[in-house]
């Protein structure tokens, strides 16, 4: 069976695993005889999906959440990458800043998110900031790891060639750190979805998938809860896919070199 699956195109195996998942879910609801508010079946969720697509609610809330995720991710990267560069290259900065950065990771985001909504009047930016905070650390760690993975010999070669600081960065450090940075970005992309949702949960207001989720729970529409969760998963997958696509393009040199 496994060798048969191995020989099939990737799209087909993905489709098979997806169908098996749906089938398993369907069987679980049928055999378990669960009430719809406890565990709705795939058909219930599909019906609810069509309702919220038809009345435009799903698209509206998804676009709002998306408009928070993307800036959250980008701002997170824009802060984490330069800071990572600084920490990787300056032992002093590392000693001064690192302890606080690491300690800050012990604070659960769910505990700070409500405070952010008080400090920042704008709902939009308080939600984006939660995403930034969640994205920040994995990117930072990956940038540092990427830069530290550059072999010393390569630095020595660059120095012996009298390369400038800028040239070392462009020709050595950036390409060397890129694979690890992109790996961090993939993790960050999915984390940004979670961060934004945490922000929306704390500040549900009247828009975004977090609001739709809160409302669905309030109305005991578990099938709608599932629709929102699956939409979030799809958002995370798409972002992950985008980064993976960028990775394949940017790292083509690496594949060619192998």
């Amino acid at each position: 069976m496994m060798s048969f699956l191995n020989r099939q195109p990737a799209a087909l195996t993905t489709a098979i695993s997806f169908l098996l998942l749906i089938l398993g879910w369907h069987l679980l609801t049928v055999l378990g005889d669960y009430d719809r508010f406890i565990l709705p079946g795939p058909a219930d969720v599909w019906a609810q999906f069509q309702v919220v697509v038809a009345d435009g609610r799903l698209l509206r809330h998804t676009l709002i959440t998306f408009s928070e995720i993307v800036p959250g991710l980008l701002i997170g990267v824009l802060i984490a990458a330069p800071l990572g560069y600084l920490l990787a290259n300056s032992p002093l900065a590392n000693r001064l800043i690192s302890p606080y950065l690491i300690a800050s990771q012990a604070i659960p985001i769910i505990a700070i998110a409500p405070l952010l909504t008080i400090w920042i009047q704008s709902t939009y930016w308080s939600r984006v900031l939660v995403a930034v905070l969640v994205v920040f650390f994995p990117i930072l760690v990956n940038v540092i790891a990427g830069l530290r993975s550059v072999p010393d010999e390569l630095y020595e070669v660059m120095v012996s060639l009298r390369a400038s600081r800028g040239q070392i960065f462009r020709k050595l450090e950036f390409p060397a750190a890129l694979p690890v940075l992109l790996a961090g970005l993939k993790v960050g992309a999915t984390l940004a979805v979670i961060g934004t949702l945490v922000g929306e949960f704390v500040q549900p207001k009247s828009e975004g998938l977090g609001f739709l989720l809160v409302t669905a729970r309030y109305q005991f529409k578990t099938d709608l809860v599932f629709v929102v969760l699956l939409t979030l998963a799809a958002l995370a997958l798409s972002l992950y896919g985008l980064v993976a696509l960028a990775e394949r393009r940017l790292l083509r040199w690496q594949a060619n070199g192998k």
């Binding site: 009430d35 508010f37 909504t117 008080i118 207001k205 809160v214 309030y218 109305q219 005991f220």
Partner: protein, 326 residues
């Protein structure tokens, strides 16, 4: 050998910890006959729950053969657990019962605790918002377009023939006190026994428009599920009776009830007594605990107007019973 000893030591320590843990939970000796019931409260521990604490402290629940374990999780969790038959009771607000039944949760409201819908519109005394009609054209802050406060707000407007389009409703999250004090909005929607008390505590003169003065909606009470009602009516009767006694005692002697609450609400000082005081008029009724069929119809109508209910319930009367309070 040394490794072995270390291993034994670790096992011993784990056993000791387990023993300590289980010992603690087994301390209330002699209560073995009592049936322990986890009760979802819908909010954090608070003197607002004084009737429950009084009933527990004075042994009314114990007389009914019950020991109550207060569970301060979210309201929706409580309904889902009762609806799924996992727990026999929960404290929930009336509109939630209808929303849950619309989705097939077999929950039944058996005792009305808050006789008045506790939502109110609060404004600064000098803002000139003295009755509902004054809300027209004003900016009103709501914690969100969901939940009991939104239901109360829409009910208030509807009962006074005000279109929601004529009022500028703003989402302000749970920042009512700050938003009103900083004049970001002209009025806020909140709990009659909370926001006005907090604002008064900060020296602000406020005008309060009570939703309950315009429309009677079903407020917080006790729910059970259809199975418990059918198979164990004595349990429901015992629970409701004990809670009613706690409620009677609280209304008769709120200071004693507040003192008892201190044993159940960690870190409670006297500063929250006004909250209990403000709650008393919302609970008063004669007889206590009875729910009015008209109130249910009005609640259903408001939910339909809000679009939270797509259609009337098949059997609205099945959502509540006064069997245990009359």
């Amino acid at each position: 050998m040394r490794v072995m000893n270390r291993y034994l030591l670790i096992v011993f320590l784990i056993l000791l910890l387990v023993a300590c843990g289980s010992n603690e939970s087994a301390t209330p000796a002699g209560d073995a006959d009592l049936q322990t019931i986890r009760l979802p409260m819908g909010f954090i521990a608070d003197p607002q729950y004084a009737p429950f604490y009084v009933a527990a402290e004075k042994g009314y629940f114990a007389e009914a053969g019950l020991e109550i374990e207060f569970d301060y999780s979210f309201e929706t969790d409580g309904i889902a657990l009762v609806g799924a038959g996992e727990l026999p009771f929960a404290v929930v607000s009336g509109e939630q019962v209808l929303l849950a039944r619309a989705q097939g949760l077999p929950v039944v409201y058996v005792m009305e605790w808050f006789q008045q819908f506790p939502i109110a519109v609060v404004s600064k005394a000098n803002a000139g918002i003295d009755d509902p009609a004054d809300l027209t054209g004003r900016t009103v802050g709501l914690p969100g377009f969901f939940g009991a406060s939104y239901v109360g707000y829409i009910g208030l407007l509807s009962a006074n023939d005000i279109s929601p389009d004529d009022v500028i409703a703003e989402d302000i999250g749970f920042t009512q006190v700050e938003s009103l004090l900083s004049d970001q909005v002209e009025a806020v929607v909140g709990y009659a026994n909370n926001e006005p008390v907090q604002l008064a505590g900060r020296g602000e003169d406020v005008q309060v428009i009570y939703v309950a003065d315009s429309i009677d909606l079903v407020a917080n009470g006790i729910i059970t599920n259809e199975d418990t009602l059918a198979q164990n009516p004595d349990l429901v009767a015992g629970f409701v009776d004990a809670l009613l006694r706690g409620l009677v005692d609280t209304l008769a002697d709120p200071e004693e009830a507040y003192a008892i609450s201190k044993q159940y609400v960690e870190g409670l000082d006297d500063s929250r007594y006004p909250v209990l005081e403000a709650s008393l008029p919302l609970w008063e009724a004669d007889p206590l605990g009875v729910t009015d069929p008209d109130t249910w119809q009005q609640t259903e109508a408001v939910l339909r107007e809000m679009g939270l209910l797509d259609a009337p319930l098949d059997n609205l009367e099945a959502a509540y019973t006064n069997e245990f309070v009359e």
